[in-house]
């Protein structure tokens, strides 16, 4: 009971007086949240009526007509799923078949680690869900650890580890002057971090910069991480999308595995299988032995249970069917390469157009960078001008989603960029 004293000093039972009609909202003081910096861009784009508008904001693939794509292999898998299977709950750890196939992609088709059952793995809600599950797991079992996150990174990484209550630090990554990798500073940060820190790594197609270490640089990174006993956690959202070859895109991970690290990996099928809205992914943690993998998996499940009980079945079925059927898998690999090649083609075209326009700036980073995104180097003010004057939508950090560039809009885009940047 809420008792208070009235003016006369008598006790008043407020709770008897206060009813629903007299109370104001519990949420009166809830502030309007800022828009998500990435997803808010598409919202703004959708609201714009201008016919020339271009969306190079969110990282979802578009074909050369600017249309979303559902892969042929996916359509076929869906036809096989519809009407044939029930919708029973998956186990907490998700589809065993899907997870098995997914591990092969990351760890290698014939990986000894898979044969020895040393990998604890669960189906997760795409890359976000896999990262969040890992962050919760890290908090629970290494409560005194902190996560090192590259600068810059996908903005949601910061939100994920924050909501999991894991303290975060940053490490140098992008070098603005060269629009490349700040390798020396990155190695310094690895060396200076307290032993046993957790490091978030983008194994390929770094988001948002598109800047990836070379193979030699990866070997050195692996070496220094090993010396310090750090835990390497890979967020792999673009396997196959970077070079067009999934094996090649997993090279950094394979280097770490050769060096004996016990890694964690978040894998997503959002982009490379075009399953975005289905939320299909996988979290894996490499353990010392099978017994430990069983224990770790059981603990990961304990974290999934109070979040969503068990993961969604439909997307997992699609993945299992595609990767489990040699012909469909071949078709998928072909379709992934087509997507990656189109993006590489657009990089060449955008750079070519800017150079043709006589831009005083260097644009070679457009073709040096890899994957879905190009870190243009444009300032927030220049980005605002692109949006306000040219109806071009991108995140204010100057990140261009190359997937949104088409032969139809690349000249318009190049011209607009040139206009806002030509004065230096």
């Amino acid at each position: 009971m809420a008792i208070s004293r009235g003016l006369s000093g008598r006790m008043i039972d407020r709770s008897a007086v206060v009813g629903a009609r007299y109370m104001s909202s519990w949420w009166r003081s809830v502030q309007p949240a800022p828009k998500d910096p990435i997803l808010g861009v598409t919202e703004a784009f959708m609201a714009d009526p201008n016919p020339d508008k271009v969306n190079v904001g969110v990282g979802a693939y578009r074909d050369d007509n600017g249309k979303p794509v559902v892969l042929e292999c996916v359509r076929e898998a869906e036809r096989r799923v519809a009407g044939n299977l029930n919708m029973e709950y998956l186990p907490m750890g998700g589809s065993v078949k899907m997870v098995e196939e997914t591990l092969k992609l990351a760890y290698g088709e014939n990986s000894e680690l898979i044969k020895d059952r040393r990998i604890a793995a669960v189906q997760a809600l795409s890359g976000t869900g896999a990262c969040r599950l890992f962050a919760d797991f890290q908090k629970r079992f290494c409560p005194n650890s902190q996560i090192y996150i590259p600068v810059p990174t996908w903005s949601n990484h910061h939100n994920i580890w924050r909501d999991a209550h894991v303290p975060q630090k940053t490490y140098h990554y992008y070098h603005p002057e060269s629009r490349g990798l700040d390798f020396a500073a990155m190695i310094d940060d690895i060396k200076n971090a307290p032993n046993g820190s957790f490091f978030l790594l983008h194994p390929c197609a770094h988001n948002p910069t598109g800047v990836d270490p070379t193979e030699e640089q990866w070997r050195e990174i692996s070496h220094h991480i090993k010396v310090k006993g750090h835990f390497p956690f890979f967020d792999m959202a673009y396997q196959g999308f970077a070079s067009g070859d999934p094996e090649r895109d997993a090279k950094s991970i394979r280097i770490f595995l050769e060096d004996g690290h016990h890694i964690g990996i978040a894998q997503s099928y959002a982009k490379n299988m075009g399953l975005y809205g289905q939320r299909v992914g996988c979290l894996s943690v490499l353990c010392e032995d099978e017994k430990q993998a069983v224990a770790v998996k059981s603990q990961l499940q304990q974290l999934a249970r109070p979040m969503y009980s068990n993961p969604p079945v439909h997307g997992a079925l699609i993945v299992s069917i595609i990767l489990g059927d040699p012909d469909l898998k071949k078709l998928w690999l072909k379709e992934v390469k087509i997507m990656a090649d189109r993006i590489i083609g657009m990089r060449t075209a955008l750079r070519g157009n800017l150079e043709k326009l006589g831009s005083p700036l260097s644009w070679q980073h457009i073709t040096n960078q890899i994957g879905m995104f190009c870190y243009s180097g444009l300032t927030p003010e220049q980005v605002d001008r692109l949006t306000n004057e040219f109806h071009i939508y991108m995140t204010r950090n100057g990140r261009i989603s190359m997937a949104g560039v088409t032969t139809g809009n690349v000249e318009y885009l190049a011209n607009a960029i040139h206009q806002v940047s030509k004065s230096g």
């Binding site: 997803l39 079992f141 075009g274």
Partner: protein, 405 residues
């Protein structure tokens, strides 16, 4: 290299999902799974509703369908229809834009997102859950950062509602505390308050300024009527006050593994609902970014098409009726056997589950000797029974109750 996770021990099996794991290992031909609450047909098979299959075909045949990310709050059309389903088509709260709705991952996901929102934005971080409640409630709320207390609910002597205890305990709760209410078909007991009792609960909660959080996992499944099962929730919304509602389509649409649900927060005013909505996004984004598209698309297809909606209602009522019939058959079987004790609670309780009143020893006996699987609290899923298996269960209960201890 040593693993940083070397010291991790294996987690115990989830008490509910673990039952199915054990059942699957059993080789006996007469084994019976009365554990997890998933509907089974008379033949003991999982059921995909015809109307769901229809919706699925429509989706797969639509060549224009894409798989783009949904917005963070999910499919807008689904959200509107879900809110209408639980609050009523003509709900003034909806008409006045006082309801913020987010598509979430079934009931669990809706509860978790709601709980995280409360932990972040609400001044009271205690939630009262009924004793007993679904085992996962405690984990969900604790993980979100709320502290969990209980209020009296089930009376083992009557196998009914401990109404006086409930009123006392909620009456003693601090102002502003959150109260979890099972909208209908209480899990695990099947014991629901009457309409009159709900009205008293409502008055008490409002006068104490407590915040109600409804878990609606069985709308339509309890009585067979969607509107009747939604009545407690609608009573609370009709008084103009605020509440949280977690909805699940796992059972009533049979969409279990597709993880379809919605969290609705009914606010006092439209501008509040709008701000609340924006903050919900910040809870969801770092959890899974946006919800899965497939199941919500199926649900939406059904809800918005009046023929399909009517078909759904008919199939839903058939499921509810079959369960009610199982209750009657089990009760009749035990009565005919002269099994000692009062078994009327089997037909008085409602929804998918019966709280048999069997103790842990008796449950273990029934598993060992009769290969009948249930949770150790004596909860049986009526949906797992059929006319063919009722006799076996009745035999087992009879043996468990009459054996010398």
């Amino acid at each position: 290299m040593d693993s940083v996770f070397a010291a991790i021990v294996q987690a115990p099996e989830d008490p509910i999902l673990g039952v199915t794991v054990a059942y699957n290992k059993d080789q006996s031909p007469v084994k019976l799974n009365l554990g997890v609450g998933a509907y089974r047909t008379e033949e003991g098979k999982p059921l995909v509703l015809n109307v769901v299959r229809k919706a699925e075909q429509l989706l797969v045949n639509d060549q224009y369908r894409v798989k783009e990310y949904l917005p963070i709050l999910g499919l807008a059309e689904f959200n509107k229809l879900s809110a209408k389903l639980i609050l009523g088509d003509d709900s003034p709260a909806i008409q006045r834009n006082r309801v913020a709705t987010a598509q979430c991952l079934s009931g669990t996901g809706s509860l978790r997102v709601g709980a995280e929102f409360l932990a972040k934005h609400y001044h009271e971080h205690t939630i009262y859950i009924p004793q007993p409640s679904w085992g996962n409630h405690l984990k969900v709320f604790t993980m979100a950062g709320l502290s969990v207390k209980t209020y009296s609910y089930y009376d083992p002597t009557t196998r009914g509602l401990n109404f006086r205890g409930l009123l006392e305990d909620l009456g003693a709760a601090p102002a502003g505390a959150v109260v979890l209410l099972h909208a209908c078909a209480h899990n695990p007991t099947g014991v629901d308050p009457t309409v009159e009792q709900w009205e008293q609960i409502r008055k008490l909660i409002r006068s104490k300024g407590l915040l109600p959080f409804f878990d609606s996992a069985y709308q339509g499944f309890a009585s067979g009527s969607l509107d009747a099962d939604a009545q407690p929730v609608r009573m609370f919304v009709a008084d103009g006050g605020e509440c949280f509602i977690a909805q699940s389509y796992a059972k009533n649409m049979g969409l279990y593994g597709e993880r379809v649900g919605a969290l609705s927060i009914v606010c006092k005013a439209a501008d509040v609902a709008s701000r609340v909505e924006s903050q919900l996004k910040l809870v969801i984004r770092p959890m899974y970014s946006n919800p899965p598209i497939h199941g919500a698309s199926i649900a939406s297809t059904i809800l918005k098409n009046s023929d399909m909606y009517n078909e759904w209602k008919i199939e839903l009522k058939a499921m509810a009726d079959r369960i009610i019939s199982m209750r009657k058959q089990l009760f009749d079987a035990l009565t005919a056997k002269g099994t000692p004790g009062d078994w009327s609670h089997i037909i008085k309780q409602i929804g998918m589950f019966t709280f048999t009143g069997l103790n842990g020893d008796q449950v273990a006996f029934m598993t060992k000797e009769y290969h009948i699987y249930m949770t150790s609290d004596g909860r049986i899923s009526m949906a797992g029974l059929s006319s063919g298996t009722v006799p076996h269960l009745a035999d087992a209960i009879h043996a468990a109750v009459t054996r010398a201890s």
